[in-house]
């Protein structure tokens, strides 16, 4: 396989995410056992791993949705575990989180879904300004005509796009994608991959992309990190990880090719 992705404008002097020695367990199940990861400004890191390996847990810990057992997480220069609620919320405004199932608010139409984070977080915005922001992000994801529709009327791919648009409306510096292509056909998956790259270019974001889809990882990631048994056992470019002699990494890649 040939890596066709474009190397982005990565600033290796500026770290936007730094995770050191991260441990997380649920009941008696140890999910993450000493994770270290650094993401640089402008970089896309694809985290690969099989289902249940703790990939989603990793990004939920970054935004404080889950509490780690032990760790040192620094995001945009702030230590996440040391922040007060108010400080954590300020940090969250700088991070976009795209959920696996989009997590659009069922009771709101697309306009309300997109306007909601804006009206709740930015005071004194006029209706005109809110509409302008909504239209701008809908244009960015190519769904300007869906503004009055309900989430239930959209296809899986459209829902993913709207989910991404909802995070973009707050102009995040970091994007966290949780399985952006899961449950989508190859053509729609490819469109989402292009959208991830377009978002990075247009909004100058750094990203962590959680996926078990090799095409997605290859197309969107500047660097891969392979999560096996609660630890990253392989990091590098797609080719480096693909050519690894590690049995578990090879097993994962073979399994995906068969799939």
């Amino acid at each position: 396989m040939e890596n066709q992705n474009i190397q982005h404008n990565i600033n290796r002097d500026e770290q936007v995410i730094e995770i050191k020695n991260l441990y997380k367990s649920f009941d008696e199940l140890d999910v993450l056992k000493g994770i270290d990861l650094t993401v640089f400004k402008g970089e896309n890191v694809a985290v690969l791993g099989k289902s249940g390996s703790g990939k989603s847990v990793l990004i939920k810990l970054l935004v404080g949705l889950l509490k780690p057992d032990k760790c040192e997480i620094t995001v945009l220069g702030q230590k996440v575990d040391k922040l007060s609620n108010m400080e954590l919320n300020s940090l969250r405004l700088r991070i976009g989180f795209s959920f696996q199932n989009s997590a659009l608010y069922d009771s709101m139409n697309i306009r309300q879904n997109l306007g909601f984070p804006l009206t709740m977080n930015v005071k004194n915005l006029s209706k005109k300004e809110i509409t302008k922001s909504i239209e701008e992000v809908l244009d960015a994801v190519g769904l300007a005509d869906k503004i009055e529709e309900m989430p239930g009327d959209l296809s899986g791919g459209q829902r993913k796009r709207i989910g991404i648009a909802r995070t973009l409306i707050l102009r995040p510096e970091i994007m966290l994608y949780d399985e952006p292509t899961s449950g989508l056909d190859p053509i729609t998956s490819s469109e989402i991959n292009k959208l991830i790259l377009q978002v990075q270019k247009q909004y100058n974001t750094s990203s962590i992309i959680i996926t078990h889809d090799l095409t997605c990882a290859k197309e969107t990631g500047d660097r891969m990190a392979m999560l096996v048994n609660g630890k990253f056992n392989m990091e590098g470019t797609f080719e480096e990880v693909f050519d690894s002699d590690d049995e578990q990494v090879k097993g994962f890649f073979n399994y995906n090719f068969i799939q």
Binding site: S25, F99, A103
Partner: protein, 264 residues
Amino acid sequence: MINISSGKYILSKGLDESLLGVHKSYRFVIEYFKQAFKPPFHVSEVINQCFEIGLRSVTLITLTGFIIGVVFTKQSRPSLEDFGASSWLPSLIGLAIIKALGPLVTAIICAGKVGSSIGAELASMKVTEQIDAMEVSAINPYKYLVVTRVTATTISVPILSLYCIVMGLLGSYVNVRAEEATSFITFFENSFSSILFLDISTSLVKSVVYGFTIGIVGCYKGFNASQGTRGVGRAANRAVVMAMFLIFIEEIIIVQISNWIRFF
């Protein structure tokens, strides 16, 4: 606090989880009082929820209140006639509907209709990560979802109780009017003749407590739902069962307190 997630249990898994459940629900209730009086107040969402709750229950309460009035009158009349006390009928109906039936029937209807709906709605938001989505957008989901709904039920249930009382008395009047020539004003004057300020206050306090209970139980069950769509059904079911159970316990306690106050 017991740390279940660490896998170390103080007593046993079941007991620790039960104690943790009590502790969690206590904190959930306390959190309401901490957040309800702090801005932002999301007034439009409270009004929206009041409208939803009121509108959703009004038809059933109209029908139930009216029927209770008719049936209670029909069933009480022969017994009172046996004692030659049929003139006390409006007073008896007034006492029964204002003091007990109105608030209790309204609470039970709302627990079934509103409590289950809140439980199911929040549970489905929880399992589809919509609550997490609010949190990562720096929106306080407790404040936006729980405080607004609990405030709305606390406001709406007393209003609906009052409406149920009016419908019950109206149903009773229709039945009384069919049997004897009593004017509307005389009937209502007689209905309220034995009612004290304490009775009305107790009735109002009961409705407020029931409204709060329905809202907080529905929200708690929804907010703590798990296990996908199965959890949604379970949350709705448990919201109703738990709310009804608590309503009956509260009924006993409030009536007892009211009797003590009356005694002194």
